[in-house]
């Protein structure tokens, strides 16, 4: 795991467990990154200020690099994001089964709804007067949501019948992690990954969550709250043996309605 001061980690079944988040006020107080710097960082999937520190965990870095590459290379299949955005604009009427009945499309719709909710909140708080991040910020997050929402690996659940198999898909778990993180005030999940052989029962895994913090929110408590929320959701909805949940604060967000990537 990393010594990144913005990374909060650690989970051994005890939610009061140790955290790697720094107590140094100089490091836990978020600073505003300029639009150019944010754009460069997001283009690489990393905040430049955090990239070196985030890269010292080989497995995590590999997972993130793979995700970044996959986001770039992923074919545009399934229901288009534009169609999902239009459907949300129309109040989800008339009912569209291609979206509502498709787990991947539904996960994207829910993520977009949460992102827009944050944007609206920021507008009402008049935070939008401060420098804004790259125009592609939401679009970048949504491209990751789109990839993460795919079914992925099948994670076994205990069955009471020998020949009956029960699973939860990796896509469902990633959606769960994202929803847990987004539900924490001031946090937005940029990406998440489950590291480990989840297809094997009782395999030990770690969870990596990269978030963006709302400008003005203390980073360490925010990261801790996200970690606890993710742990709670994973305990409730899966049987994963989670060794740790690493939360990395990648950037600070300040959105307005002109910087929503067209979504």
């Amino acid at each position: 795991m990393s010594d990144d001061p913005t990374r909060s980690s650690g989970y051994d079944g005890d939610e009061s467990g140790p955290t790697r988040a720094s107590s140094d006020p100089a490091e836990t107080t978020p600073s505003t990154a300029g639009a150019d710097a944010t754009a460069d960082a997001l283009a690489q999937g990393l905040d430049p200020d955090r990239a070196v520190a985030a890269g010292d965990a080989v497995t995590t870095a590999d997972a993130e690099a793979e995700l970044d590459a996959a986001v770039d290379a992923a074919p545009d299949d399934g229901v288009s994001l534009e169609r999902i955005a239009d459907y949300l604009d129309e109040g989800r009427q008339p009912y569209d089964p291609l979206i509502e009945d498709d787990p991947s499309a539904l996960a994207q719709l829910n993520a977009l709804r949460r992102l827009r909710g944050v944007s609206d909140q920021l507008l009402s708080d008049e935070v939008a007067a401060t420098p804004a991040p790259a125009p592609s910020w939401i679009a970048d997050v949504m491209s990751r949501v789109r990839l993460e929402s795919r079914s992925g690996r099948e994670i076994p659940l205990t069955s009471t019948h020998e020949r009956t198999t029960l699973h939860i898909t990796e896509g469902a778990v990633r959606g769960l992690i994202r929803e847990a993180g987004d539900a924490v005030d001031g946090a937005l999940v940029i990406s998440c990954a489950i590291v480990g052989d989840v297809a094997q029962p009782d395999a030990i895994v770690t969870v990596d969550v990269a978030i963006s913090a709302l400008y003005g929110v203390a980073v360490q408590p925010l990261a801790d709250e996200v970690r606890l929320a993710v742990v709670r959701h994973l305990e409730q909805q899966t049987e994963l043996v989670v060794e740790g949940v690493d939360v990395t604060v990648r950037d600070v967000h300040q959105l307005d309605d002109e910087h929503d990537g067209g979504l």
Binding site: T158, S159, A172
Partner: protein
């Protein structure tokens, strides 16, 4: 048990799964029909839920088979797939569960309910279940 009977059973199983506490959606496994035809030796039937349901359309399209009673603009009817071979009967379905429920517990409850119903059908050989949770949330 002919295809029509199996199809009605699939509809019934879909309804049973949908009414299990904690389940918010039931749907067919994408590609289910085609995959089963390739994988199962001695296959005798592949069906999806609903009157006149056809396994390939239900499984591959995810919206075929069942749903004939649903309005075009409303949620699709719950769909499960049934594969019947000379050696076994395999029920396949995907579900979404409520974020307020326990996913693993809901999955086991659905399995108990469906296997209990299948046990009442003496014509079905070695019934078993393949269930996935594909979503967690309020909708």
């Amino acid at each position: 048990m002919d295809d029509r009977q199996l199809s009605r059973l699939a509809t019934e199983l879909g309804a049973l799964a949908a009414e299990t506490p904690g389940v918010v959606r039931v749907q067919a496994r994408p590609g289910f029909g085609t995959a089963m035809r390739r994988a199962v030796d001695g296959l005798t039937a592949v069906v999806g839920g609903g009157d006149g349901g056809d396994g390939d359309s239900a499984g591959d399209g995810g919206v075929g088979g069942a749903g004939s009673d649903s309005p075009a603009t409303g949620p699709s009817a719950p769909i499960v797939g049934i594969v019947a071979s000379r050696a076994e009967t395999r029920v396949t379905l995907d579900i979404a569960v409520s974020d307020e429920a326990s996913g693993p517990r809901v999955a086991r409850d659905v399995a108990e309910s469906l296997l209990g119903r299948l046990a009442l059908e003496p014509d079905l050989l070695e019934p078993s279940l393949d269930l996935r949770i594909v979503g967690v949330g309020p909708h």
